[in-house]
Subunit: 362 residues, 2 copies
């Protein structure tokens, strides 16, 4: 049905298999820092206009690949499509980020929640299939979803937050309601990711963007347990191919052992974590993805190259003597900034390939 | 000159000496959640009107002590007084937080920076002396300052930030400028804290509120090294009394060993850190301060008490068999929210005292 993969370095690294270079992709690589993205976005009229239109979503997903020799593509979409399909009424206010018309703040609202009909998310699965075809085997396609906890943050707060007061008030005051919401979110996310896999996604990533705002103990109970509930339901194979599962908890560096214990294939790391230390802690069980500070891309080329070299060196030799001790997927530690100079990305991607090839031949 | 201390439990715990209960105070305990604070603030006209007036600063510092049996007072002030004294022009825009009229964004602006004349901060030292007198030995008084890096964040960004793009761009593009600014900040902070100690502060705390936004490696180089430069210059004793030094790095849980290595007496912890795990890592060298999520205070009394119990239990027995293995100062993991119900604070403080006394007698 689809063309065979020409570059499978990303999938191989996820499964801790040998690669000729360290594969690299960037969170939010299709985005506002690219003038061609802004042009398509202007034609689409709105963010959701872009995300819900198969042709536009395909076009912007491929834009960064036409500029840079990236080793993976990631579906252009948003983590909030799932609560939107639950009927919460998602909109994007310019310059302010996402907003829900009907946030979930009391027992009655939680009682109304249910796993949405996946037909409401058909536009996402159509985009996945369209992108996979358009990629024509160049690189693998990553599907994604928000973690149950991260979705709950937005569902309760109704928008971004800097203190998570409403969602944490519910967590500490009515843990029963929070558990109910998280269970529904988890089952919805699992269905959603499995449908992306069936539509053509070759790896899937769970973004626990707000797991790191939780207290120790609360993280394990209210975030990780529900990410685990997602993973347990996910397809591990599709049409004979292994589908790697990636879990990224921003601010989760203290809990790496716990995260590895729910058995994702890859653990994403933000820039606060030392890659070598993370590898020593969990690298015999999972591959690692990350983790340069996106603000490095505002530095001159020599400084970007130096940081790439430092990051690759901190991970250490890519593969151990048994051929499976490692597995590093290079990425930023968080989404790329909209203010990033596009030429900095070229410097980064080339440096990752060049330095990691050199490290392998050393 | 001053009345002798009636309750020295806070100072004793900082120095890992035996106490009858776990002492407790709260970051930002004098603040907007208290109606009496809001009344004084209204009379003062502005935040800086409050902070620069000795009588008002004394009044609001003592307000929480009149309500709750807290074990320490903390100077009412702001970390940005130091860059304000450097001539950056601090103002507080209502609802938006602090702002500098003249942010430091280029080589010329960095070249202008110098350690300010401490006479410009006389109002702070006068407040310290006034508060110490007014306390009349009830509990010890804590002085404080921002860390060199945290001050630099505000100095470069000119206000709060959610991505620290400007300050990190300078860090990665012109590390020479950043190091120059940080050295000046460190020397200014050391002078400032020593003057607070001379004016009557019985312990001092360095708030590295934004250390946790740095990448591993950058944190050690650009935040911790300069906090160390501060500590090295600080008085350890004044008039025969040991002055405990507290360092709090929000988001610094991964770097506890590094933080303990610069030899503060106390390491402050946010809520992402497990106290027992932190104690196992560094608790033989320093006391620990923290670390309940301030959002716990939005829960009903029984839930607050349960979280207090969990937190005290996670630290474990307060003092080890050698009589000096521990030392726990109870606190939140970050400043108290302005939306906190004042009655929740009473529940928390009472629970800390009651449960920790019970644990000692068990």
């Amino acid at each position: 049905m689809y063309a065979p993969l020409k570059n499978d370095s990303f999938l191989r690294a996820c499964l801790r298999q040998t690669t000729e270079h360290t594969p690299v992709w960037l969170m939010r690589q299709a985005g506002r820092y690219l003038p061609e993205y802004r042009a398509t976005r202007a034609r689409a009229g709105s963010f959701m206009g872009l995300a819900t239109n198969t042709d536009y979503a395909t076009e912007v997903t491929l834009q960064p690949l036409d500029r840079y020799p990236l080793d993976a593509a990631i579906l252009f979409s948003d983590i909030l499509t799932v609560p939107d399909a639950m009927g919460l009424g998602l909109s994007f206010v310019n310059g302010e980020g996402p907003r829900f018309a009907s946030p979930v703040r009391d027992e009655a609202a939680v009682a109304q929640l249910a796993v949405p009909d996946m037909d409401k998310l058909r536009y996402v699965f159509d985009a996945v299939t369209s992108i996979r075809k358009a990629l024509n085997g160049r690189v693998p396609l990553i599907g994604f979803a928000g973690s149950p906890w991260t979705l709950a943050c937005y569902m309760v707060e109704g928008a971004g937050s800097d203190d998570y007061r409403l969602v944490k008030s519910m967590l500490y005051s009515r843990p029963d309601l929070m558990h109910r919401m998280l269970a529904i979110n988890a089952d919805a996310v699992a269905l959603y990711l499995n449908a992306q896999i069936e539509a053509g996604a070759q790896a899937v990533m769970v973004f626990d963007s707000w797991g790191g705002v939780l207290a120790d103990g609360a993280f394990q109970q209210f975030s990780l347990a529900y990410t685990q509930r997602v993973l347990k339901q996910l397809k591990r194979e599709h049409e004979g191919q292994r589908i790697p599962h990636i879990v990224f908890t921003k601010g989760g560096g203290l809990w790496l052992e716990d995260i590895a214990a729910i058995q994702p294939d890859v653990v994403g790391l933000d820039w606060t974590v030392n890659l070598g230390a993370a590898r020593a802690r969990i690298g015999d069980r999972v591959a690692l993805q990350g983790n340069i500070d996106p603000n490095v891309l505002f530095a001159p080329p020599a400084a970007i190259r130096a940081e790439v070299e430092r990051t690759l060196a901190s991970y250490g030799p890519p593969i151990g003597p048994d051929g499976r001790a490692g597995g590093h997927v290079f990425n930023l530690g968080h989404g790329i900034s909209q203010h990033t100079p596009p030429e900095s990305v070229a410097v980064l991607v080339d440096a990752v390939h060049e330095v990691s090839r050199r490290m392998r031949s050393a």
